[in-house]
């Protein structure tokens, strides 16, 4: 039986078609009913350097990058050297024999294809190597060439002069595979033929934000969040919204707060270094109770670190960053699809509770693409902030102490009797500075009470896996898919394990997490950082010792890495 869950990795010099070949294969597969999960890394430099793109494709949903590599397409020697070690024993290597010196096959099936030479000599189209590769992939692994042809036509709608050359390259590649004696067992076969969307996390964040009513965006370019800024720059003006490229991240958040003060839903997106600069203003948003959404697409390392790699290293900063005691909300999506739902959720929380909401994404979510269904519109309510009713304005107090902690917010230009100062200073209910100890206690309690209210209104956190688990896994953010697949594998191997993946990390859904922790003997917390930031957060909240599982080289978890930890803990107790 052919294996139809295939992990394909393409590697080569940046700029020679690695990314575009991968992108087109992904779209073609998604249009013809397959599920796709891609992962890419590229050098931080603009030209040159090694780039690779990984596609996992299957007729069933795929949740993670998977383990190892089934098919390696090596454009050059470096790609071969770097990745050959990860190719499975009976895996496939497609390589350019003019540029790659292969050694022992070690059981792998090899198809030499002189990609560069064909592009140059047969097609007279050196830049067509990407489409040539696409044709070869389609021929070898069973993707419909007609749908790829549509795709190429669509992409070159405005460049007719390139179309015929590209189609020739595609056909040449596809036909070329007829000359290859296929010895491997990888073939996609049939699918459900449902056309799916292919989106990256950054795409999904923009779509969700616009749906949630975001009409003001200010930001400063930074990897890996820049695509959010660029898309907002293009889209917001068409919706009557405002886009501002700010001079720095302080100005970004500052102008978002100014816009939100007038009643416009506002957001900024950044990565760790920019987020560091925003922390002082985050305190103002919390103190003056101004709704705002901050997306932090985490990247690896402190300082400049590794801008194009991932790390879940900003949880501490999101939880504790900034001076003084102030509440903030943190949400962390687990997949591309989740980015869409959670950014809507983030806006709803910011509006309803009038405070900063941080969405923690990361480089893998930002740039990877996944196939997803059209979102379920019935799951999407959009919430607006509470505004004073006419009666409230007779003796209006902007920061009236309430049971929920939320006070109606007046808007300039709208509420004639609502004028108030949004204060950075501690203040009384009207907003006037008041530094009395009793007032600081009262107002601190009021602001923090919003977290308690949120906690009581959080939806359920579904657990999955064994009914009576011995070991539990608590994950957060983009590790979700790898954990899910590891748990499936562990259940199939007879291990009693269950997992929980909260989306809201502050305030934590304490009741459900507490019950889950109590129901198991040990809890593994996998996360892509050195310190075990979530493990500490859980330990501090629940007073227990989780087993940390940390990976911190800049790449995401493979399910096997988590599966092995489950085995270890269940077989050896640690």
């Amino acid at each position: 039986m052919p294996k139809n869950d295939i992990i394909i990795r393409i590697g080569g010099e940046g700029g020679e078609g690695v990314i575009s070949a991968g992108d087109m294969f992904t779209s073609g597969a998604a249009r013809t009913g397959f599920h796709v999960f891609t992962f890419r890394t590229y050098p931080a430099e603009i030209k040159g350097g090694h780039a690779w793109y990984q596609i996992r494709v299957s007729d069933k949903p795929v949740l993670s990058i998977g383990d190892g590599v089934d098919v390696l397409i090596a454009f050059d020697g470096e790609a071969y050297e770097r990745h050959i070690g990860e190719v499975h024993e009976h895996g496939v290597v497609i390589y350019d024999p003019d540029r790659v010196n292969v050694g022992e096959s070690n059981g792998r099936i090899r198809y030499p294809v002189p990609l560069q030479r064909i592009a140059r000599e047969k097609l007279d189209f050196q830049r067509g190597k990407n489409v040539l590769t696409l044709g070869i992939m389609a021929g070898l692994f069973g993707l419909d060439p007609a749908s790829l042809e549509d795709l190429v036509r669509g992409r070159l709608k405005r460049r007719a002069e390139l179309l015929s050359k590209n189609l020739d390259a595609l056909h040449y590649g596809y036909e070329y595979t007829r000359e290859i004696r296929k010895e491997d067992g990888y073939y996609l076969g049939t699918s459900d033929n449902v056309s799916r969307l292919v989106m990256s996390g950054n795409d999904a964040i923009v779509a969700g934000a616009l749906h949630a009513g975001c009409r003001f965006y200010a930001g400063y370019p930074i990897t890996p969040a820049s695509e959010i800024l660029e898309t907002m720059a293009r889209e917001l003006p068409t919706l009557g919204g405002i886009f501002l490229q700010a001079e720095d991240e302080m100005a970004s958040l500052a102008s978002c707060l100014g816009a939100s003060f007038t009643g416009t839903k506002a957001m900024t997106a950044t990565s760790g270094p920019g987020f560091s600069l925003m922390t002082e203003l985050m305190g103002l948003a919390s103190m003056a109770e101004i709704p705002v959404v901050i997306v932090d697409a985490q990247r690896a390392g402190p300082s400049t670190g590794m801008p194009t790699k991932l790390e879940q290293g900003d949880l501490y900063q999101a939880l504790y960053g900034g001076h003084g005691d102030f509440p903030r909300v943190i949400v962390a999506p687990g997949s591309v699809e989740d980015c869409f739902y959670e950014i809507v959720h983030a806006f709803n929380l910011a509006e309803r509770y009038q405070m900063p909401v941080i969405l923690l994404s990361d480089q893998s979510l930002s740039h990877r693409t996944e196939t997803l269904q059209m979102p379920d519109l019935s799951r999407l309510t959009v919430v607006d902030r509470e505004r004073p009713r006419s009666g409230d304005l007779e003796s209006y107090s902007r920061f009236r102490v309430t049971e929920s902690g939320v006070s109606p917010m007046a808007l300039p230009g709208v509420d004639v009797e609502g004028a108030y100062v949004a204060p950075g200073l501690e203040h009384d209910e009207s907003g006037h500075p008041d530094l009395e100890p009793s007032i600081h206690e009262l107002m601190t309690q009021k602001r923090f009470r919003k977290l308690t209210t949120i906690q009581s209104e959080l939806g359920p956190v579904p657990r999955y896996g064994s009914e009576k688990p011995k070991v539990g896994i608590i994950g957060w953010g983009a590790t979700e898919g790898a954990i899910r697949e590891a748990v499936e594998r562990a259940l199939a191997a007879g291990y009693e394990v269950a997992a929980l993946h909260p989306r809201v990390l502050n305030p934590l859904p304490e009741k459900e997490l507490g019950a889950f922790i109590d129901s198991v003997e040990q809890v593994i917390v996998p996360e892509v950082n050195y310190q075990g930031q979530m493990a500490h957060h859980l330990a501090a909240t629940f007073g227990f010792r989780p087993i940390p599982l940390n990976k911190y080289g800049g790449l995401p978890f493979a399910p096997g890495e988590i599966f092995r930890k489950i085995e270890e803990v269940l077989d050896h107790g640690h």
Partner: protein, 288 residues
């Protein structure tokens, strides 16, 4: 002129008291900022702006307490950030009249990096910089506008750096309205504020506003302040720069005015004249 416009707009005339919050200013007796506050009340009255359509954004420091004393909307934000906050307010709702007020610390030191951008964009906000050449709230350290040799707690041997020239900087950054006032001449200052608000674009008003407690410069400015030379042409940027660079006296009045540049918030709304509603389904189709 301003009053004429106002009369057309509304029947009941607003008075200065309509702009007062009733909160007693926390400033020391004789502080220049009292003069700025009263000039602002006067300007708002002359312009007959509705208090709920005015937003006063400030930074941190003595002068930045000013929003609390006004019955308008306000934001008392973060040290150095009045300009980007005000930019957000104005861009999101251009029908509001937006002031950014702060001291020499906010606008020339911790937030100095925002000045060139706000000016170059030409956002239609009125910046009033209350310059006392000292840090008052932290009790007498040197500021970027302090004179060379200025003795203070942070420069006990005298300041080494040369003082910033706020008017020169504003002109160089591309501000389309640049003026200077003196808090002790509140009537003239209120006239400048009126003109600054009426100007469509980024207005920068540098105000000498002495600190009686730590750096009392009233006698000095009373002596050196003088009206703009009558021959000064406010449409001539080179002349304005030359004057601001070479003046030995402290000139009060309008240095420069350029009404030909369209404000940022207006321009950025013109790219796509027919805005549409967001349709999620339509938007997502491009990812199919």
């Amino acid at each position: 002129m301003a009053t004429d416009i106002a009369l057309e707009r509304q029947d009941v005339l607003l008075e200065a008291k309509d702009y007062k919050s009733g909160v007693k200013p926390v400033w020391c007796p004789g502080c220049g900022d009292f003069g700025v506050l009263s000039a602002t009340y006067k300007a708002l009255t002359a312009l007959q702006l509705k208090p709920h359509e005015v937003v006063v954004v400030s930074g941190i420091g003595c002068s930045s307490r000013i929003p609390y004393f006004m019955r308008t909307y306000g934001i008392h934000g973060v040290h150095g950030r009045p300009l980007p906050i005000a930019t957000g307010v104005k861009m999101a709702n251009p029908s509001l009249t937006v002031f950014a007020m702060g001291g020499d610390g906010d606008l020339m030191s911790i937030g100095a990096g925002h000045m060139p951008h706000a000016a170059a964009r030409n956002v239609d906000i009125t910046v009033i910089m209350m310059d006392n050449q000292t840090y008052g709230l932290t009790k007498a350290q040197t500021s970027p506008t302090s004179a060379t040799g200025h003795i203070s707690k942070s420069t006990p041997f005298g300041a080494i750096a040369r003082p910033f020239k706020p008017v020169v900087l504003a002109l160089a950054y591309g501000a389309t309205f640049v003026a200077r006032g003196y808090s002790a001449r509140a009537n003239e200052l209120s006239e400048l504020i009126v003109q600054g608000v009426q100007h469509h674009g980024f207005s920068f008003i540098h105000v000498q506003s002495p600190c009686t407690e730590f750096h009392n410069t009233y006698d000095y400015y009373d002596k050196v302040a003088e009206e703009m030379p009558p021959e000064h042409d406010t449409s001539d940027l080179a002349a304005a720069l030359h004057l601001a660079l070479t003046e030995e006296r402290v000139h009060l009045g309008v240095f420069y005015r350029d009404e030909s540049k369209e404000p940022f918030e207006q321009r950025s709304r013109e790219f796509v004249p027919d805005a549409s509603e967001f349709s999620l389904e339509e938007y997502l189709r491009r990812f199919a």
